[in-house]
Amino acid sequence: MSERGFDANWSAQPLIEMQGVQLSFGSVQALRDVDLAVRPHEVTALIGPSGSGKSSLLRCINLMAFPAAGSVRVGGRETVRAVDGKHEFLLGEPERNQLRTHLGMVFQHFNLYPHLSVLRNVALGPAVVLGHSREDAQDEARLQLSRVGLAHKADAMPRELSGGQKQRVAIARALAMRPQVMLFDEATSALDPEMVGEVVDIMRQLADEGMTMIAATHEMDFAREVAHQVVFMADGQVVETGPARQVLEQPQHARTRQFLDRVLRHAAVGGVDPAPSSS
């Protein structure tokens, strides 16, 4: 991967590692002493109430947020280390940008570029960041759009798409960078219920293809059926981590049981997860 600048040993295990990560916004502690290890080709589901720190955790991995303590390693290489509120990057700014090309991110509110066509939304990264020619970038974009079943929407503008379609374009946009890891920040939480399925299907498909994924999600079915590892978070802490079945079916902690009871009962009566917006 050194041709893309950020030099990491991507086959080393684990692929992503966080140790003792703290993150605060002013007096609010977003993350407290978080440990996490993600092995290659595995899917990690982050579950927990809104505001429990799932988004913050993802943002520490791609260095959109800087920890106040702890360290983060990606591909075996330490990217940031912090002690007592002072962080030290172990990568220069160009390397941080290159690191992000390897870490695809999908947002709750899609964040498509409204002034660009679907094709250009997806092709822009390969063209501008990876330096591909216009033709190569557009070929890549068409390939990724067909992967999410939206090749026929290449010339549409984002405002002409449904929420589910927007999110699939956003996934294609992330995939066009050929990332090593995909980070999903509540990718289905802003969708109308009938559109959740099409997005979850693509996430499943990616998992089947062996993509390493970390998904903050309220979709318990996805967590149960797709995730290798489930991490339950509350109040900025990792309460419980383990194989999906163990955490979801035999939770060890009262907090986890309480959360699952509430979510699963809600789902059982046909309700839809309220999914308030997270920060």
């Binding site: 791609n62 959109m64 700014e93 160009p94 940008n97 290159q98 690191l99 992000r100 090309t101 870490l103 695809g104 991110m105 947002f107 509110h109 964040n111 498509l112 570029y113 409204p114 002034h115 822009l124 990264g125 501008v128 960041v129 503008m157 984002p158 405002r159 946009r173 992330a174 960078m177």
Partner: protein, 221 residues
């Protein structure tokens, strides 16, 4: 009240109207200066070496917190003393109003950038774009579309401010009205002419801007 003397209108309308090109020239020049300086100031105020940011903040505050008329007079009378050069009044007036406009445009554009930057900038940074790449490809293109209406409004404001150059002797619409008033002793007719011509100019510009807004309406969802 004296009867309105239409003969003054007939005699001097052409003379006052001859100030329209100067008024438009000063206004257009000031808007161009305002945009050319204001947009980079906005960008640099968001992310530049700290002393540069402070300097630009000082610039913006200086121009926003002193009267435009004072700025016009200062540039006409004081700048030549400081530089030793001679600045024609049209240039001094255009420059002063232009710099003043740049301070306001810088603040408006900065607001526009900040409004777009949160989600859009994040999406751009997350695929590995540098800050400047995200500006170039994502944030500024969207900002410029959103700025079309505020810029059009700025132009109208600047046309009105341009009347201040009459104070330093530029023969714009207002100054020509002064000349008519002095030579006829008919202020009612003279300044009504001035007001009507400003109204015509500003209405025409507003209509033109509306037409352009429709053609380049922002493609924002």
């Amino acid at each position: 009240m004296n009867a309105f003397d239409w003969s003054v209108i007939g005699q001097y309308a052409g003379y006052v109207a001859a100030g329209i090109p100067i008024t438009l020239l000063v206004s257009a020049g000031a808007v161009v200066i305002g945009i050319v300086l204001g947009v980079p100031i906005a960008i640099l105020r968001l992310r530049a070496w700290a002393p540069v940011r402070w300097l630009l903040l000082g610039y913006v505050e200086l121009f926003r917190n002193t009267p435009v008329l004072v700025q016009v007079v200062w540039f006409y009378y004081v700048l030549p003393v400081l530089t030793g050069g001679n600045l024609p009044p049209v240039w001094a007036g255009t420059l002063a109003i232009g710099l003043n406009t740049s301070a306001y445009i810088a603040e408006a554009v900065r607001g526009g950038i900040v409004g777009i930057a949160s989600g859009q900038g994040e999406a751009a940074r997350c695929i590995g774009m540098s800050y400047w790449q995200s500006m170039r490809w994502i944030i500024l293109p969207q900002t410029s579309r959103r700025m079309l209406v505020p810029f059009a409004n700025t132009f109208v404001v600047v046309i009105k401010e341009s009347a201040l150059v009459s104070y330093i002797g530029v023969l714009d619409i207002l100054h020509r009205g002064d000349v008519v008033q002095v030579s006829t002793f008919k202020p009612l007719e003279a300044y009504t002419l001035v007001a009507v011509f400003f109204l015509i100019v500003i209405t025409a510009v507003t209509q033109l801007m509306r037409f352009m807004e429709k053609r380049w309406s922002p493609a924002v969802d």
